[in-house]
Amino acid sequence: MSLSSTKEISAFVAVQRYGMGPARSLGNNGSMKPIMSDPRGWLESQIKTPPAFTSGLSKQTRLESSTNIIKQVAGKRGDSEAAKKAVRSLAKKHYLNESVARFHQAVTSEQPLYERLVLFWSNHFTVSANKKNVIRPIVGAYEREAIRPHVLGTFPEMLRAAIQHPAMLLYLDNASSIGPNSQAGKRRGKGLNENLAREIMELHTLGVNGGYTQDDVIALAKIITGWTLTPRRQGGGGYSFIERLHEPGSHKLLGKNYSQLGESQGLAALDDLALHPSTAKFIATKLARHFIADEPAKEDIRTLSKTYLASNGDLKAMYRTLIRMEAPWRSPLSKVKSPYELLISSARLMAAQSNDITSSKFPFDDRAYRRLIKTLSTFEQLPFSAPSPAGWPDRAVDWISPKATLNRIEWCHAFAQALRPQVNPLELAREAIGAVSGPETLIWIERAPSPVEGLALLLASPEWQRR
């Protein structure tokens, strides 16, 4: 049993469960002393204003808007092998730059709770690079444009921004869905694509048992026809509502008639879906699963659900409830880190050791980041590449198998070996995991045959693999 004080354990929970691992500002060796007096206050200070998306990226890593990227890709498109190759390499360039930038942001952030929330919502509104070549170059821009600006806003705002983003419209095929009785539909004999409408209700709002039918799917699909990409002859690249594609008339969704004209019909439907009690429960369950336990208690879900409905989906209110409720603080190691979380927290721990934050070598250069991203391919969690619109799973059973366990342990060794940091593993372990570790782990870290193996052991320890 640990002999640590409640204060130390709470600081550990704030840093690992809510944050992404030790923050530089907390001091060398991943110390948590500066926040021990008020871990909840430290967390609340991180959700006041959004951080800048910045940071010491190299000059060739320039991030661009999705509109620009879509135009660039369209400009290069063609049937020749050379054109196809050019499109592929453009997609790869943007994808890598975005992946590196996002990783760097998470590793260096002083608002790690905010960065965790970005990942959470980006996963809730998954757009995956592995579906289509057109998606790959814009997945990062999607997160920066549709998710990041709304993390401290309301759920209805984020829902609208995510659904109307070109990346989502392409990913779930709404960009090419046409109302059968619209002008274009009648002329071309083309029709609906119900993919996005179904996933809005199943994955983004109500949840699969949230009380909708196949008729509701078709109604919502009709309601959001015309939500598509700006045609090239009008400049291209962005979102547009195109009346010619929109299914005319009134449509009945979840028992309510929507007779608005044009785009406002869909916006009204989205607002109603966003504030539906099923949505409150669905969002509350996902947040509880992420911050409390794989199978959260019903009462904790109810607490969050109440906040959601009382605040009309105000996300800051949700986070404050999450921080103030007791459950997340009671069991400090109940969650297993996903591979992505494991890599980021390990990189943050190493970053906290570095004295030279401005150098390109802090804590890694671009190339090291790119290697880490390759590693994520082995872990089957490449950035922006969830296997389905449901996003990455969020339970230990989904991430821990014999093979995955071995991969994680082997990676910790490779990471420690590549860095060869000048640290005393035992001192580092006392600061980073001492609050929750029994004597066993610290003893074997101390007895490790070399500093590299000591550090690897710290990273492989259950106290570091969990959060």
């Binding site: 095929d173 196949q214 089957e380 198998s401 014999p402 093979k403 071995l406």
Partner: protein, 449 residues
């Protein structure tokens, strides 16, 4: 492919691997003994592979995303085929016309060969009992073997492992390897089931010991380090149990595939399916290998531009067909030779079919009935040829389910009830109680094997 992965000759054991085995004995036992209640398959599940047990093999390939069954096996003889399928209709001259009514997609020519040898049965218009159109719930039903989503807490293949163990335990009284306490729900003879992939799919999850494996692309670490990790995992049953299983599987894997690192480096999903399929063939062909295996292949959710004889769907069908062919190829090359293939059934199943009509984007949306496929030397042929078993519902508008999807006239569970009963000699009482609860009213498809 086969050139890259030469067949295993004998049981050459590297020094490295011996040391790992020793290591397991030296360290594994000490740190793991405290967990014997958690570890259900014994300390060295791999050694349990050698225990006497069923020689029947079952491979389940889960096709995630909803395979378009009407593209894989085109009912070109249906009078409404051209009209309903529209731009997605396949021309008769490209179809592989194994039957006067049904033709295989041209990308499936390796499977047409199996058909000609009596080693394929197609079951069009089949579906799980699930009738809504969510991927995630439909896969949940497919994998749990339940009649509605989230109704059970284990996968049907995991429960099958349990049922076979009980059966074997009853029929082979001489086998007393069991280390379990009486009344334990766990396997008496060790692990029969292996998922080829880095994690356990839902269909394999449950109380009975099974494993997952795929080749590793990570650099080797030192044995010292690994043994220390085992020490500090003593208080974490989840990590400890998974690490012990992994080290054991790794030792076995090094036995059988010296070049697995090279294999692992070719890591994109298509190649990785082909690699895993041939690895599965090799392991299943081994007399001491696993008996029940899963593979997964995604990429079937073709909402847009799915293509006809070429294109996105055709590419995926090609990967599937080559993967299945390589299972047979590797099995017949293995130590157990053709006899293991003659005891094998490979099932390829998907969560649902797709809409019969194309949607607005030359793709298809989520539908209902799909097509299931069986392969293997254990299948009963029709005078040396394959079979297509169906109660064809028709493609005309009025014949479709909710005017849009192929009507489900065959319950996938009825197929499996017959197959599992014939293949393993399991009674319908056991099958409808343990494997497919809620399926009592169905008439099992007997005589598939």
């Amino acid at each position: 492919m086969t050139e890259q992965n030469p067949p295993i000759s004998g049981k050459a054991t590297s020094i490295h691997q011996i040391s790992r085995r020793k290591l397991l004995k030296a360290w594994g036992v000490g740190s793991v003994l405290g967990l014997s209640t958690v570890l259900s398959g014994g300390l060295f599940p791999g050694q349990a592979f050698a225990a006497a047990r069923t020689d029947k093999r079952l491979v389940v390939i889960i096709l995630r995303g909803g395979m378009d069954g009407l593209a894989a096996l085109a009912p070109y003889g249906d009078p409404a085929y051209r009209q309903t399928r529209g731009d997605l209709a396949l021309d008769q001259d490209v179809l592989l016309k194994v039957d006067p009514f049904f033709g295989l997609h041209p990308a499936l020519s390796p499977l047409a060969n199996l058909y000609k040898q009596g080693e394929m049965i197609a079951l069009p218009a089949s579906a799980t009992p699930y009738r809504n159109r969510s991927h995630f719930d439909a896969q949940n039903v497919l994998e749990l073997g339940s009649d509605k989503p989230h109704a059970l807490n284990s996968g049907w293949l995991n429960r099958l492992v349990g049922a076979i163990n009980v059966l074997e335990g009853n029929t082979r009284k001489g086998n007393t390897r069991s280390k379990n306490k009486a009344g334990s729900p766990t396997s008496p003879v060790g692990e029969l089931g292996l998922a080829f992939g880095s994690g356990l799919p839902l269909i394999m999850r449950g109380d009975h010991d099974v494993n997952a494996w795929s080749p590793s692309a990570m650099p080797d670490t030192s044995d010292d380090y690994m043994s220390l990790v085992q020490r500090i995992y003593g208080n974490d049953p989840l990590l400890s149990e998974n690490l012990t299983k992994a080290l054991d599987l790794q030792a076995r894997s090094e036995d059988m595939t010296g070049n697995e690192k090279k294999m692992a480096k070719q890591n994109n999903s298509n190649k990785s399916f082909l690699n895993l399929a041939s690895l599965a063939g090799r392991w299943l062909g081994d007399p001491d290998g696993p008996r029940i295996a899963t593979l997964e292949l995604g990429g079937w959710d073709t909402h847009a531009r799915q293509g006809t004889e070429g294109g996105r769907l055709a590419n995926n069908l090609d990967i599937l067909a080559r993967g299945i062919a390589s299972i047979k190829q590797e099995m017949t090359k293995s130590t157990d030779g053709a006899s293991s293939w003659s005891k094998t059934v490979v099932v390829a199943m998907t969560e649902f079919g797709r809409t019969a009509h194309p949607n607005g984007n030359l793709g298809t949306d989520h539908g209902t009935a799909g097509t299931a496929f069986l392969f293997g030397g254990a299948l009963k042929s029709d005078g040396g040829k394959g079979r297509i078993i169906h109660n064809w519902p028709g493609l005309a508008k009025a014949q479709l389910y909710e005017n849009r999807d192929l009507n489900p006239t065959t319950d996938l569970r009825a197929i499996m009830l017959g197959l599992l009963s014939d293949h393993y000699g399991l009674s319908q009482a056991v099958l409808t109680r343990d494997i497919y609860p809620g399926s009592q009213g169905l008439r099992p498809f007997m005589g598939l094997v």
